[in-house]
């Protein structure tokens, strides 16, 4: 058990974190380099203040629950969406257990949430994930778009939380859940640059780009920004 633990928290952790960080940066650079003002029909280097304003508005309103017309038109989905992502992003970063490791390894830690809060966020996230999967199966307009890949991506995202939760509750088989948690977390990190989980960074890129489009070309220079 000990050598496996050493391995997954040692070399494998370094590898997966490196792939994650470098991969995300590479995706960002490739995206930006592949923009073409004439093909995209948006001036990236001219009308910059309008572009920046448009980009920020485009990101900002969509990051707020019910902040856009589209979010408001789909309230149930929007609620599940934000609960899912809040749990997904807040829990790993501010978990006490993770920050203790951080402190031990690298001498610093972030602000932490209580274990009770982490439990609530995790369960809420898993409930939301369940609803999202059921929605995929139940709604015709979502079903027709769905394929196996969508379920695999969801599994990759959810596995670290199921295994992590079980480990945190000290159920029997703790050692197994811990190792599975670490490995599934590393799989998720590595998957981010290479799969649709790349929306971790590309959401911001795509939204900024469309925001610039509306901010410069489609009305932004003649008045207020687009009414997202």
């Amino acid at each position: 058990m000990y050598p496996i633990y050493q391995f997954v928290t040692g070399p494998l952790a370094w590898l997966s974190l490196s792939i994650f960080f470098i991969g995300v940066i590479v995706r960002l650079i490739l995206y930006i380099r592949g923009l073409d003002w004439q093909a995209d029909r948006v001036t990236y280097h001219a009308n910059v203040s309008y572009g920046v304003k448009g980009a920020l508005r485009s990101i900002f309103f969509w990051l707020i629950p019910f902040g856009t017309r589209s979010w408001r038109a789909n309230p149930g989905f929007t609620l599940m969406f934000f609960v899912f992502h809040a749990g997904l992003l807040i829990t790993p970063v501010f978990l006490q257990a993770h920050n203790i490791l951080l402190k031990e390894r690298w001498g610093f830690s972030l602000w932490t949430i209580s274990d009770k809060t982490a439990d609530i966020l995790t369960i809420a996230m898993l409930v939301a994930a369940t609803f999202l999967i059921l929605r995929r199966i139940a709604l015709a307009e979502v079903r027709i778009l769905t394929n196996a890949y969508d379920y695999i991506i969801m599994a990759i995202a959810v596995a670290p939380f199921i295994t992590g939760f079980l480990a945190s509750q000290n159920v029997s088989g703790y050692n197994l859940w811990l190792i599975l948690h670490i490995i599934s977390g590393e799989i998720m990190l590595v998957a981010i640059p290479f799969t649709k989980l790349s929306h971790f960074i590309l959401f911001f890129c795509s939204r900024a780009q469309l925001g610039m489009d509306f901010g410069i070309k489609r009305g932004g220079m003649k008045g207020k920004g687009f009414a997202w």
Binding site: I32, G34, T43, S58, S70, E141, V142, I144, L145, K217
Partner: protein
């Protein structure tokens, strides 16, 4: 197989080719030949390699299959929420497939792509505003139409339309001579009622250069006269160009990017030649979108702006009313319930929703907004060339239901529609569904309502 005589990968560049294609009633032979048209896979691959960049590639890849685009699409709603009409499905099953297969597609597939691109999307861009990732499927369909055009899989009327732009620099066979003659004729016709009326052609240094839709000289010349009267009453120093007089773009609907460039350049050349302070375009949505919004990019202008500042007609009208250049006789304001059609191309895609409301505040006593309205309004049902393709008339008529229901819900008896395509769609909607409405451009309504300054009135009989 060799390419067809009428259906092939070559765009129309001469009058003779245009007449040949027009002579083939409803494109009967054209579509027959299309069944034998091979896909030039090398050309398709090269085009993808050259033109499919980060933005489109990322859009295709990161779609999370969430389905939020479904309810945003009027065709999805009009077709009883048929899942095959979900915008993401429509684009993934066409452009997405072409990209996945690296252009290794066949004739049957490309005909399906053509049918999807021209009858299942009007490029209204409403879906793009509903997608959490900002994936604009309307833009992707515009791009896809370009791939189809290059391969020859383009609807008959669209091939003709882009051919018109290539030959006449106008969407119809109206020469510069025809255009100037029509202007002279209209000025003569309306002079008696409006003394001093004239339609200056090619005047340099005017405040306004006014450009139109070829439908106007060809079928609705009174529109030109009305525009002239309104500029005359407003005391504008204006002109029309000789060459470069037309600002529509069926080429844009057809996916003929080369013709798009040629067309807008003819208008920009007129701007350079005549050096007006600004350009005002007639009541046409896609003309504004093509010539003012997208045009600079086709023409390679790095600022993204037209050589001279350009305005849609509603901007001029709002300004004229606001500044008092045009004054409305309060007794003649529209009393019956009236609503306003928000055309996608100059409202959702150009931000001019406020102008329409400002105008309504001057001319209507009972103005009723559609639901939804402004940037969120639905396509009229006829955009993107939908109004003009015989092959897809049935599908177009289904799409009209959404606008019909919106109008009915307002209780309005009159629909104001400052856009040629929307005007046509609403006219057709009335013809198909008989809901008892009238529809109008702004010009004829304004002429009936404005106060005529003393010195411009005709002499007493």
């Amino acid at each position: 197989m060799p390419e067809g005589k009428l259906c092939n990968r070559k765009p129309i560049n001469t009058k003779e080719e245009l007449h040949e294609l027009l002579a083939d009633k409803s494109g009967k032979q054209y579509y027959q030949e299309m069944n034998e048209l091979d896909v030039d896979r090398g050309k398709l691959q090269a085009m993808l390699q050259k033109s499919l960049k980060s933005r489109l590639k990322t859009w295709l890849e990161i779609c999370a299959h969430c389905g939020l685009c479904a309810d945003s699409c009027f065709l999805y709603l009009a077709n009883n929420r048929d899942p095959k009409q979900v915008p993401s499905y429509k684009i993934q099953s066409t452009l997405g497939e072409i990209v996945k297969r690296r252009g290794n597609v066949d004739n049957t597939f490309m005909q399906m792509v053509m049918d999807t691109a021209w009858s299942k999307c009007t490029c209204c861009n409403r879906c793009g505003s509903y997608c959490p990732f900002g994936i604009d499927m309307g833009i992707m369909f515009g791009y896809l139409r370009g791939l189809c055009f290059a391969q020859g899989f383009v609807p008959w009327e669209m091939k003709i339309g882009s051919g018109m732009h290539r030959v006449y620099r106008a969407q119809m066979d109206v020469t510069v001579e025809d255009w100037v003659d029509t202007c002279e004729w209209m000025a003569e016709e309306y002079e008696d009622d409006w003394p001093g009326l004239c339609i200056p052609v090619d005047k340099e240094g005017a405040d306004i250069m006014y450009t139109v839709n070829a439908r106007e000289p060809k079928h609705y010349p009174e529109d030109i006269a009305e525009a002239a009267v309104l500029f005359h009453l407003a005391g504008e120093n204006w002109t029309v160009p000789g060459e470069g007089w037309e600002e529509t773009s069926l080429a844009m609907f057809a996916g003929d990017w080369e013709a798009c460039k040629l067309q807008v350049e003819s208008v920009y050349d007129a701007m350079h030649r005549l050096k007006p302070k600004r350009m005002v375009v007639t009541e046409c949505g896609h003309a504004y979108r093509a010539t003012v919004i997208e045009g600079p990019y086709w023409a390679g202008i790095k600022t993204g702006k037209t050589p001279v500042e350009s305005f849609h007609y509603v901007e001029w009208v709002a300004e004229a009313l606001r500044t008092g250049k045009l004054k409305i006789d309060p007794a003649k304001k529209i009393k019956e319930p009236v609503t306003y059609q928000d055309s996608c191309n100059y409202i959702r895609n150009a931000g001019l929703a406020d102008c329409g409301r400002e105008i309504m505040s001057y001319i209507a006593e009972d103005f009723r907004e559609m639901t939804p309205c402004r940037e969120n309004n639905f396509c009229c049902g006829g955009g993107g060339g939908f109004n003009g393709m015989g092959r897809y008339r049935a599908q177009r008529n289904v799409g009209l239901k959404i606008k019909r229901d919106q109008i009915l819900a307002t209780g309005a008896k009159l629909v104001i529609s400052p856009c040629h395509n929307c005007w046509d769609a609403i006219r057709d909607l009335e013809e198909v569904f008989h809901i008892g409405i009238k529809w109008s451009f702004l010009k004829p309504l304004l002429i009936g309502m404005v106060e005529v300054p003393e010195h411009l009135r005709p002499p007493e009989e």
